[in-house]
C-alpha cells in the first residue's frame, strides 16, 4: 500500500477528482488524523493539518492563518475528548464556516469511533486534579487499532459528503485496515521483551499504547496532568521506581525533557523519547513509521 509522507504537519492529496469533481477539502487537527484522512480520501480529497507534529496538541497557538484553512473546509476531523479545547473553538469562531459548524455533517469528532475510552473519571472531576479530561484520556491514536476504527468512521462521513466517491472511500479504508491489521499483531508480538519491564511516563498519554501492548505503567512524573510535579511526588515516584526496578521513563518530545531526565536519573532509569504523533520526531514520517519507531526505541532501551 502506498504510504503518504507527512511533512511539517501539512498533508496534501492530488487535486484529481473522479470525473473532474472538486476534491473534498478535509482539515484535520492532528497529523495522525491527517495521515488517516489522506489514506482514506486519496485523490478525492485535499487534506490539511492544523497542529504540526512537533507541537503539543494541548497548546497549539491559535494563529488566524489556521482559521483561514478551516474557512475552506468541507470536513473537519478532530481528536475530541477535549484534547483541542484550548484552541479549536477559537479557530472555529474565527473561521465562520457553516459547513463544519458543530452538529453538521462537516463536523467529525473522531473519538466517536472508539469502542472504549480509557481513564474516564468515575468520581467528581475538579481542576484540583490538573488538566484532567472529564471525558477520558484523549490520546487514543497511540493504539493503532483505534486508528483503524477512525479510518472507517472517516470513510463513512466522507461518503456522506461525497456519495459519488463512497465506494472508493470504503475501498481505501478496507485496504488500510488490511494493511495495518497484520502490522498491529507483529508490533504487539515484538513488544514481548518490553512487557517484562515496568515503565514510568512523564505525562499520562501512553495509556492506550500500554493497553494495546500490555505494558505496565508504574506512574507519571506529572501526577496531575499539565501541572509541574511537586518535589514530594518525584521523591515518592523515585522510591517506587527503584523498588520495582524501573529502567525506562518515556516522554514525548514536547514534554519538559530536562525535568523528565532528572526524574529518570533519580530513579536510575533512562529517558526514552517517543514520538507521540506523526511528525513528532523526524523519523516518524507517517502513522506506520511512528509505531515502528516507538517499538524500535522501546526495544533498544530494553537491550533487545
Amino acid at each position: 500500500m502506498p504510504r503518504l509522507t507527512v511533512i511539517a504537519g501539512l498533508v496534501a492529496g492530488l487535486v484529481v477528482g473522479a470525473a473532474g469533481a472538486a476534491p473534498l477539502k478535509v482539515v484535520c487537527t492532528l497529523t495522525d488524523l491527517g495521515w488517516l484522512a489522506a489514506e482514506v480520501g486519496g485523490e478525492d480529497t485535499e487534506v490539511a493539518v492544523l497542529c504540526p507534529g512537533q507541537y503539543d496538541p494541548h497548546f497549539l497557538p491559535a494563529r488566524p492563518s489556521l482559521a483561514r484553512e478551516l474557512g475552506k473546509a468541507d470536513l473537519l476531523c478532530y481528536n475530541g475528548l477535549e484534547l483541542e479545547i484550548g484552541w479549536l473553538p477559537a479557530l472555529l469562531e474565527k473561521a465562520r464556516n457553516p459547513r463544519i459548524r458543530p452538529g453538521t455533517a462537516g463536523d467529525l469528532d473522531c473519538s466517536q469511533a472508539l469502542s472504549r475510552v480509557l481513564d474516564v473519571p468515575t468520581g467528581p472531576v475538579s481542576r484540583a486534579q490538573g488538566d484532567v479530561h472529564p471525558l477520558g484520556n484523549p490520546h487514543y491514536l497511540l493504539d493503532p487499532r483505534n486508528g483503524v476504527l477512525v479510518a472507517k468512521l472517516m470513510a463513512a462521513r466522507m461518503s456522506e459528503l461525497r456519495p459519488e466517491a463512497a465506494e472508493r472511500f470504503q475501498d481505501r479504508a478496507n485496504r488500510l485496515a488490511a494493511d495495518l491489521t497484520p502490522r498491529i499483531a507483529a508490533w504487539r508480538e515484538a513488544a514481548a521483551p518490553v512487557r517484562e519491564r515496568p515503565l514510568v511516563q512523564y505525562h499520562t498519554q501512553w495509556e492506550y499504547l500500554a493497553d494495546w501492548l500490555g505494558l505496565e505503567l508504574l506512574g507519571a512524573v506529572e501526577h496531575r496532568p499539565g501541572i509541574s510535579p511537586s518535589p514530594r511526588h518525584v521523591e515518592e515516584l523515585e522510591a517506587r521506581g527503584r523498588a520495582t526496578g524501573v529502567r525506562e521513563l518515556i516522554a514525548a518530545p514536547w514534554n519538559h525533557l530536562d525535568a523528565a531526565r532528572k526524574a529518570a536519573d533519580r530513579m536510575g532509569a533512562v529517558l526514552v523519547e517517543l514520538p507521540a504523533a506523526v511528525g513528532a520526531l523526524p523519523e516518524a514520517v507517517d502513522y506506520v513509521a511512528m509505531f515502528d519507531l516507538i517499538l524500535a526505541r522501546l526495544l533498544a532501551a530494553a537491550g533487545e
Binding site: 511539517a8 504537519g9 504540526p52 512537533q54 507541537y55 503539543d56 494541548h58 497548546f59 497557538p61 491559535a62 494563529r63 488566524p64 492563518s65 482559521a67 483561514r68 474557512g71 479545547i85 484550548g86 484552541w87 479549536l88 473553538p89 477559537a90 469562531e93 474565527k94 465562520r96 464556516n97 457553516p98 459548524r101 458543530p102 452538529g103 481542576r127 490538573g130 488538566d131 499539565g226 501541572i227 509541574s228 514536547w254 514534554n255 519538559h256 525533557l257
Partner: protein
C-alpha cells in the same frame, strides 16, 4: 448592580444549577443546552508613593466577570459578560480641604452581550450587540487579559479609562490576500466617556488586521484602526471652563511580533507590541499623541517577565506661574502629560490562575508629580472559559 441585570444573572445561574433530569420532556429543563459558564476574578493590592487615591492604595476587587457562551441556533453564537468592579468615581478631591473622599462600593454592568452570525454568505462575519470596539491591540482586551495591571496611559487618556464597549453592528471579512487579512467595519451608539452620549450621531470606524506567518513559531501582525464620532464636551481639555462640540477622529497603528517555541509545551515564548494612538478632535486638540511598547517573555514553564513603556504627549501651553510646582492630585492620571515605565513578574501555575507582581513609574512632565506604584494581582478563572484568540 442594577435590578434587571441581577434578575438576568439569577436566571442564568438557576438554569446552570439545575440537576440533570432524565424527564426533560416533562420538566422542560435540559442541562444539555446550558451555556458554558465561567467566572474570572481579579484581586489586587497596591501602594502608591504619593497618590492618596484609594484606588491606588490598599486591597480591592479589581474586577469580577461572569461569562456565558453558547450556540444559539444554526445561525448565531452568543456571548454575554457581566462585570462587577469598584465604583469608578470612588475617590474625589475635596476642593476645599484638598483631602480625598472615598466612597467605596461596587457597580455592575453588562460589559459584553452580542451574537455572531455563523451562516452569512461569502464568509462575512456579523456581530450584533454590545462588545469592545476593535481598535488597536489593547482596547479589545478584557481586564484579565491585560499584559500589565492597568491599561497603558496612552489608552486611558486617548480612549477613556473604562474601555470602549458599545452597542452596534460590526461586519468583517477575511480579504483574499496571500496572508491573513481581516477588515472589520462598525457603526455603534457611542456611550463611552470620550463620546457625547447625548448626540444622535453614530460612532463608526474600521480595523484592518494583517498577520504574516514568518515560520511555524513566529508571526508579525500589522494593524491599522480608525474611529470617528461626536466628541465629549471635556475630551482632553486643559481648561475646565471650556466645553467642546464637534467630532472626534482617532487613528491608530500597531505592530506585534510573536514567537512561541515548539520545543516544549509552555516553552519559551516572546511577544513584542507597539501601538500608537493619534486623536484629532475638532477642537481643543493640542495635537495629542499616545503610544506604548511592551515585551512579554516566558522564560520558564510557569513564569513570564514583562517590560513596558508608554507616553501621552501633547503640545501644551506654558504653565501658569502658580502651577509650576504641579497641582495637588488624588488620581495618578490627573496629569496632563506623562511617561510610564512598567515591569512585572508573573507566575502562571496553570491556565486558570496567575499571580503578578508589578512595579510602575509615572513621570509627570509638567509638575513634580512623579509617582511609583507597586501592585500585586491575583487572577483566577473558574468554570468553562472560552479559549482566547491568538
Amino acid at each position: 448592580m442594577r435590578a434587571r441585570q441581577c434578575c438576568l444573572l439569577a436566571a442564568f445561574c438557576a438554569a446552570a444549577a439545575a440537576p440533570v433530569l432524565a424527564q426533560s420532556t416533562a420538566t422542560g429543563i435540559s442541562p444539555e443546552f446550558n451555556p458554558a459558564i465561567s467566572v474570572n476574578t481579579l484581586v489586587i493590592g497596591r501602594v502608591a508613593e504619593r497618590s492618596t487615591d484609594r484606588a491606588y492604595n490598599g486591597g480591592d476587587l479589581q474586577e469580577a466577570e461572569v461569562q456565558f457562551t453558547s450556540v444559539v441556533d444554526p445561525y448565531w453564537n452568543a456571548n454575554v459578560v457581566f462585570a462587577v468592579h469598584p465604583t469608578h468615581d470612588h475617590a474625589q478631591d475635596n476642593a476645599e480641604g484638598g483631602e480625598t473622599e472615598s466612597h467605596g462600593g461596587y457597580e455592575g454592568d453588562v460589559e459584553v452581550a452580542y451574537v455572531d452570525g455563523q451562516a452569512l454568505p461569502g464568509g462575512f462575519g456579523l456581530r450584533l450587540g454590545k462588545d469592545y470596539l476593535p481598535f488597536g491591540k489593547h482596547v479589545p482586551l478584557h481586564t484579565h487579559q491585560f499584559p500589565f495591571v492597568d491599561s497603558p496611559v496612552a489608552i486611558q487618556a486617548c480612549l477613556g479609562n473604562h474601555g470602549l464597549t458599545e452597542v452596534g453592528v460590526r461586519l468583517s471579512h477575511d480579504l483574499p490576500l496571500p496572508w491573513y487579512s481581516d477588515l472589520a467595519a462598525y457603526g455603534v451608539d457611542g456611550q463611552a466617556e470620550i463620546f457625547d452620549g447625548a448626540s444622535r450621531d453614530l460612532v463608526y470606524g474600521a480595523r484592518w488586521t494583517n498577520l504574516f506567518d514568518l515560520s511555524l513559531e513566529s508571526t508579525v501582525e500589522v494593524g491599522g484602526s480608525w474611529l470617528e464620532g461626536p466628541l465629549s464636551a471635556d475630551y482632553l481639555l486643559l481648561d475646565p471652563d471650556v466645553t467642546l462640540a464637534g467630532d472626534l477622529a482617532v487613528w491608530g497603528a500597531d505592530l506585534t511580533y510573536k514567537w512561541i517555541s515548539a520545543s516544549a509545551s509552555k516553552g519559551p515564548a516572546l511577544t513584542m507590541t507597539g501601538e500608537v494612538i493619534v486623536p484629532r478632535p475638532d477642537q481643543g486638540a493640542q495635537d495629542p499623541i499616545g503610544w506604548y511598547a511592551l515585551a512579554q517573555y516566558r522564560f520558564a514553564r510557569n513564569w513570564w517577565l514583562g517590560l513596558g513603556a508608554g507616553v501621552l504627549d501633547r503640545d501644551l501651553p506654558e504653565p501658569a506661574e502658580e502651577e509650576e510646582s504641579g497641582p495637588e492630585h488624588g488620581g495618578l492620571f490627573a496629569w496632563e502629560e506623562v511617561r510610564e515605565y512598567k515591569a512585572n513578574l508573573t507566575w502562571v501555575p496553570s491556565e486558570f490562575s496567575a499571580v503578578r507582581l508589578e512595579g510602575a513609574r509615572f513621570d509627570d512632565q509638567i509638575g513634580d508629580n512623579d509617582d511609583w506604584l507597586v501592585s500585586l494581582q491575583v487572577n483566577v478563572t473558574i468554570g468553562s472559559h472560552p479559549a482566547h484568540l491568538y
